[in-house]
């Protein structure tokens, strides 16, 4: 069972690790999953299991980041990352 600050730092570490993925979808997924996971287990009395799980997932994320960065990054930019606004012509009909 970690104290409050430990939980928060674990959350931060997970989010920070997830930022390093070259793929947009992986980045978004880690962000979404960590927030969901922490919020789900927020009100539990015994948080030791959840804490251990989060720690294990942190290791997994860090390993995957290294693996994904070994291969070339995606060639096309994901549409959600585009900076220019989407005009009508670009919308798929």
């Amino acid at each position: 069972m970690g104290s409050r600050s430990e939980l928060l730092s674990l959350c931060r570490a997970l989010l920070r690790a997830g930022r390093q993925f070259p793929h947009y979808n992986l980045r978004e997924y880690t962000k979404r999953r960590t927030m969901d996971g922490f919020r789900m287990n927020k009100n539990l009395t015994d948080q030791s299991k959840a804490y251990a799980e989060a720690k294990a997932q942190l290791v997994v994320v860090e390993r995957s980041v290294k693996l994904y960065s070994l291969y070339p990054p995606p060639k096309t930019k994901n549409i959600m990352v585009w900076r220019r606004p989407l005009t009508v012509a670009l919308l798929p009909i």
């Binding site: 409050r4 600050s5 928060l8 730092s9 959350c11 931060r12 989010l15 920070r16 930022r19 962000k31 927030m35 922490f38 919020r39 927020k42």
Partner: protein, 188 residues
């Protein structure tokens, strides 16, 4: 911020010749009056020793506008300096006293606005809720996890990395903006 300049004017006796020359050049009658207090709101002339100082000096000083910045006085000072003919007996010390009025410039308004924007987006606040510099995150209904998410969003937006301990101390929008500016300045 107000600045008070104290000009230490240091003359020596063997400079009076130069001084007469100077005053004649300036078409002023050399007088040997010691003018002590020149009531200028922003300047104060302090005389180190009882050396003759012509009123021309004071008049020069006072002729500079009442809103005299240090630049104007420096120009006047430099003009006198060039008459010392290589001898460095004439020494002017322009010393800036510490500022009396301390304006606590907390954070730039653009940074605060950007932070507010991101907070609004993260917490999905509607337009009715006011987000100002002093609003606490807890007031807006954000718990510690939401704060962590907001801080992460800010880090991404500004391209900075916040340390753990510092990030845990963020409670208001103002603090976040200050930290961001600090880190941006360190980066630059």
């Amino acid at each position: 911020c107000d600045l008070t300049l104290s000009l230490c004017v240091h003359f020596h006796w063997n400079l009076r010749k130069r001084f007469i020359y100077f005053s004649k050049y300036k078409n002023l009658s050399p007088t040997w009056l010691i003018t002590l207090t020149v009531p200028l709101p922003h300047l104060s002339l302090r005389l180190r020793s009882l050396t003759p100082i012509s009123s021309s000096m004071a008049s020069i000083a006072s002729s500079t506008s009442l809103q005299a910045r240090s630049r104007h006085l420096a120009i006047a000072v430099n003009q006198v300096k060039c008459f010392s003919y290589g001898r460095s007996n004439l020494s002017f010390n322009l010393r800036q006293l510490p500022t009396r009025l301390t304006v606590s410039c907390a954070a730039k308004s653009e940074t605060v606005d950007k932070v507010c924007e991101i907070v609004r987006k993260q917490l999905s606040l509607d337009e009715t809720k006011k987000v100002v510099g002093a609003t606490k995150f807890s007031e807006l209904g954000a718990d510690s996890l939401d704060t962590v998410e907001i801080v992460m969003g800010l880090e991404e937006e500004f391209g900075i990395e916040m340390a753990e301990e510092k990030a845990q101390t963020i409670t208001t929008v103002e603090k976040a903006a200050e930290l961001i500016e600090e880190l941006l300045m360190e980066k630059a």
